[in-house]
Point group: C2
Chain length 691, copies 2
């Protein structure tokens, strides 16, 4: 018997899709006359971008002379329909402007239209670049009636993508671990790709949604990839050289065992002087080569990766070792909190993987150096379609935290399924761990990080509609208050240019119908009520209800003939609810108050348990699974309307993938329903087939 195979990944392709930066999106900028004030690489980028736009649309761009209005700290560009003589444009515009009265910081900017001139001001070059992309996003709306100063500053200082790209093709995980968009844009078969055009295009796309940091290699650092830190550092520097022009700093995943593997030291003990000296010297060399290098990303003592535990040290010792080496150069270490026992005994119900990150890290609060950023997955398990917010986020007030999302759709349809994740991320970012009066997750986090969904696929992300997730990640990291619908509108307008299409309203409304609720549809036809997993082990695609039930991975549902769910209460379960502050500790502990969508994450209940919705658990399982499939059927029907309204290539790819999504959703429906019917014996109240 041969094993089943998944859909073949797309072929690598160099004529990359323009995504949310087609030339048409620059029409409004390109039709204007612009003067750009300021100097340096990023200002040059702004100038070049506007110049390219003008070439397509009849405008022109000039360099401003001196500082506008003699204000040396600020950079600026100004756009106007008709160009006045000389550089009067800038002086004129600035004279009309009320200064914002506060620093804009290293990335902030102002957009204003005091009269006939649209002006963008920034304190630092990156702000000017982000301002340009804001004007592109606004399009003609940036050139209407006069309006006052609007200040834009990013909510989160570092908006970072982690690539899980391998240099060598890994025998199990491939070129990109959990990659669903072809190969890596950085490496192929052990060698750097050096596709500079592709890298530059990628940098533009990221800057245009606000991303300012990229970690270029997999957090599981294998032997070849470990050498990126030393003898293969040039490959990282080459990537940095391309991304720098768009204000993106490069970070590197490193192995904690590097001193042993790369330098032959007898130990990687973080308190050993030789180890500290090696990291200091190695890091100095990295900065010699890449002066704006961002820092290290480390997965330590997790799923087999080496870490400080081997030397009797803790994660603070480990993280501080690297932070010390990086601090003199302005770098940081992202230290992942994804630490748990992946060899646990499924028979032992007292061990709870959900507890692990808190149990490991909360006691270390206050011991991390300032340049350590503890990187916490948004949920306590592993990027499921539904989880509570990780209690670690509220547990480390003395530590800088990054919250980690997964844009690559490992558990949310693997870029074969439409699953617009912004509503999910928005919920997480706006969750208030201390209740309504406390701060939100977005307010607690220093950085927002996501595992990238990009590969060498022509559409960047395999599924063309998965581009929206990448875009939305950047936008929500910049402004977590944006609504997912607004972000989707931005993405639609930029990508598909509905203003110029035959059916703009139809295009926009149809994409909203397909995408707005697609994450909840995915949730409906997969694992019910927050219980998670039920995916095929290994590749994690498609259903296998018991696939992880008897494994060492700590991801169980405990279904038996009477009920299902994980008892994580303090009263009778693993006590995980006690890791939350009030009021959530009490809400989750209470069978009466626990939200339906997380019920089975926190409680083991009989199939007849009645939800707040009024349905029993078992009938809810049946109903949501039938509903989820019907929703995918509707998606596929709706997509048909867009034939001719989107590019033929986009249409065909999405159409094909919707077929696969529908097939897979039906498998989920039938397997989950059959599983629980066989176990519970309860028939469907509506008499539908359960197999």
């Amino acid at each position: 018997m041969s094993p089943g195979t998944l859909v073949t990944p797309p072929e690598p392709c160099s004529d990359a899709h323009p995504a949310w930066l087609p030339l048409e999106a620059w029409r409004a900028v390109g039709a204007r006359h612009t003067v750009v004030y300021g100097q340096g690489l990023l200002v040059d980028t702004v100038f070049a971008e506007i110049e390219r736009a003008c070439a397509g649309h009849g405008g022109a761009v000039a360099r401003g002379i001196g500082e506008p209005a003699g204000h040396p700290a600020q950079l600026m560009f100004a756009l106007v329909k008709s160009l006045p003589p000389g550089d009067d444009l800038g002086r004129m515009a600035y004279a009309e402007l009320a200064a914002p009265g506060e620093s804009l910081g290293s990335e902030g900017f102002v957009v204003a239209r005091p009269g006939e001139v649209t002006v963008v001001l920034a304190d630092a070059p990156a702000g000017l670049l982000y301002g340009l992309f804001e004007v592109v996003r606004l399009g003609e709306a940036a050139f209407g009636p006069a309006y006052p100063v609007r200040v834009h500053r990013p909510a989160l200082g570092r908006r970072m993508l982690d690539h899980w790209d391998n240099v060598d093709v890994h025998p199990v995980m491939g070129q990109v671990e959990r990659g669903y968009a072809g190969g890596s844009i950085f490496w192929r078969d052990g060698r750097p790709r050096r596709d500079r055009a592709r890298l530059r295009a990628y940098a533009r796309l990221l800057a245009a949604c606000g991303v300012n940091a990229v970690s270029v290699n997999n957090v599981n650092v294998h032997a070849t990839e470990a050498r990126l830190l030393t003898e293969r550092l040039d490959e990282v520097a080459e990537i940095a050289d391309e991304l720098r022009a768009y204000a993106i700093r490069v970070h590197l995943s490193v192995t904690f065992a590097a001193p042993v593997i790369l330098a032959g030291l007898p130990t990687a003990d973080p308190l050993d002087d030789r180890v500290r000296a090696w990291w200091a010297e190695t890091t100095r060399r990295v900065y010699d080569r890449i002066p704006d290098f961002g820092g290290y990303l480390v997965k330590a003592d997790s799923e087999g990766q080496p870490g400080p535990f081997s030397y009797g040290r803790d994660h603070a010792d480990g993280a501080n070792l690297l932070a010390e080496a990086l601090a003199p150069h302005g770098g940081v270490v992202h230290w992942r909190a994804f630490v748990y026992n992946h060899r646990q005994d499924w028979r032992d119900r007292s061990t709870d993987r959900a507890r692990a990150a808190f149990d490991h890290f909360a006691p270390l609060d206050g011991r991390f150096l300032d340049t350590v950023i503890v990187q916490v997955k948004h949920g306590p398990i592993d990027f499921q379609a539904r989880e509570p917010v990780s209690p670690v986020i509220a547990a480390m007030p003395g530590t800088r935290l990054a919250v980690e999302f997964q844009v690559t759709q490992e558990y949310t349809g693997q870029q074969r399924h439409v699953c617009y994740l912004a509503p999910w991320w928005s919920e997480v970012l706006q969750f208030r761990p201390w209740g309504d009066d406390g701060r939100s997750v977005a307010e607690v986090a220093a950085d927002l990080v996501a595992v990238s969904n990009v590969g060498d696929d022509r559409f960047w992300t395999g599924h063309p509609l998965a581009q929206a997730n990448l875009y939305a990640f950047g936008r929500l990291a910049w402004d977590p208050g944006l609504s997912p619908e607004t972000v989707l509108d931005e993405w639609i307008d930029l990508t598909f240019d509905p203003a110029s299409s035959a059916g703009p309203a139809l295009l926009r409304s149809t994409l909203h119908e397909i995408m707005d609720d697609s994450w909840r549809s995915y949730e409906r036809y997969t694992a019910p009520l927050g219980v998670g997993f039920m995916v095929r082990p290994g590749h994690h695609y498609g259903p296998d209800v018991d696939g992880y039930e008897y494994t060492p991975w700590g991801t169980y549902h405990f279904a038996d003939r009477d009920g299902v769910g994980v008892d994580r209460t303090r009263a009778t379960g693993t006590g995980f609810t006690g890791q939350y502050p009030s009021p959530w500790a009490e809400v989750y502990e209470s069978l009466d108050n626990c939200p339906d969508e997380l019920l089975l994450f926190f409680h083991h209940v009989p199939y007849g348990h009645v939800l707040h919705s009024g349905s029993t658990v078992i009938q809810h399982i049946y109903d949501t699974h039938f509903a989820g499939v019907r929703e995918v059927e509707a998606m596929a029907r709706r997509w048909q309307r867009l034939a001719g309204l989107v590019g033929d290539d986009v249409y065909a790819r999405v159409d094909e993938l919707l077929g696969e999504q529908l097939r897979c959703a039906r498998e989920w429906r039938d397997q989950v329903n059959a599983y629980f019917h066989r176990k519970s014996g309860v028939p469907d109240a509506h008499g539908r087939p359960l197999h």
Copy 2:
């Protein structure tokens, strides 16, 4: 999350273990004086083997002059303690012999000891070779008191091993598909290994247990491997050159699409004249290069392999195409009956994979040419630890059949578990499809074939005790009437030389205690009562009760909260029982008469159903799983006794693997018991933990 990994396969190794041909095993032969009569390659082999043995033990060997006793049709060698002058030995011995009075055929031989001389006679050189190995097996027992002529002839004409070796490392299946003994002895990383010493050693081992044919490449023929038939034929010829000296003919797996893939023909339609001409010409070239080439092995229209169905033809058309090409040269085609729908809908309980081979092939009986051998897996599904005998074996009286076993332990512990399979094969070979008065499977079959368990591992088979399965396959194919215990004794005596060890009785008795019942132990701790599978999809190692339950592979158990098993009766099920002749059709159809060990293969029953054993099904599941693990614990304890009685390397390897077997058996026990406990709700009658 990273996927789990299995135990690392052993490193390739050239200092191969002598297995059942250590020099010590030749002591009795080597201590004698021998005269060898006859000429040709195989007689030279016999001479060389005896010469090598003498070098170690003080005997001598000479060529006989002329024919002994003027009997030109017969070959002979004779052994005596003290050498008489000249070639009188042979004449003397032959003079004393009563001729067997019947032809010995191409492989038969006689052993006799008319007085002080032990004599082996054969009609053909291969017989002389097999006679030599019989004398080696007998050891000093061949040189005791005089005894009369004993005639040996193989029960099955072709005793064949199918290697599932790939030339290229397959991205999923590796160098050897379902190989558990390292890499291939033929190929490595796309190139021939050309390890002639290893090939010659392999040929000796096979000849010594009676194997006379080897198919060298995987039945799943990928692009590179397809070319072994044409441009890479030299690689096959090189293997044939090594195996020929031990009377082993080489066969080749070919793809039915070869005319399209290799010659660019527009079709592979078996009735197309261009296709027939291509096969005829291609086959002629094969025989030009390898005059004693055995023939082709074909997996067609099975698990994605191409076949005649693509052209609206049936398997008889397909097989006869190749048979026509081979017949002029004395070759045969082995055409596998392993044809079924591997994309079936698990929701559809009327489709039954067990029926497929019969449904496809029985109607074609009588349409196959004489040089077609339809190769039937011994059971209707796929080499499980327990299946009924395939009904195809009784359904094709007008067709030459090969019965196929699987020596490689895909579903029987993957050479990490001790699982001596001879008792299982013996049951199959002695099964009488038409009842006690009819012929046995061994009497119906023309050939016996097995998937090889050999790789480039130092012990040949990964687990040193798995050598016994390879040995037993050859011996049972030669003489299906041999008891598994006798075969095991032969293997122990040859391999471990207990006569010279410190504890011969202990060694022999301990190995019997460990191995005799090991297949039944394996059955006890894995899938219960003949229901099969419950293995991890893909690699098929370790338990996953629902692993195949909702897949397209046709391997289901249909467990729900009330009962378990597959209803294959005519009355209420798939009708599979009707494929058997009387009496088995009635026996299997009857819930009362169906043997316990096959109950769930044929019937879906409630957990409370009472077996012939008196136990309920659910209690039987619990009891056998606890018992199976206890038996493995006993194996491990017993093995400890053998420290110092077997080679240290053998001891250590087996000891390590017993640890893995015990771990895995406990997983099987706990997962199967927990699964059925959660589903049935029935507690263990003895109160043991069920999780």
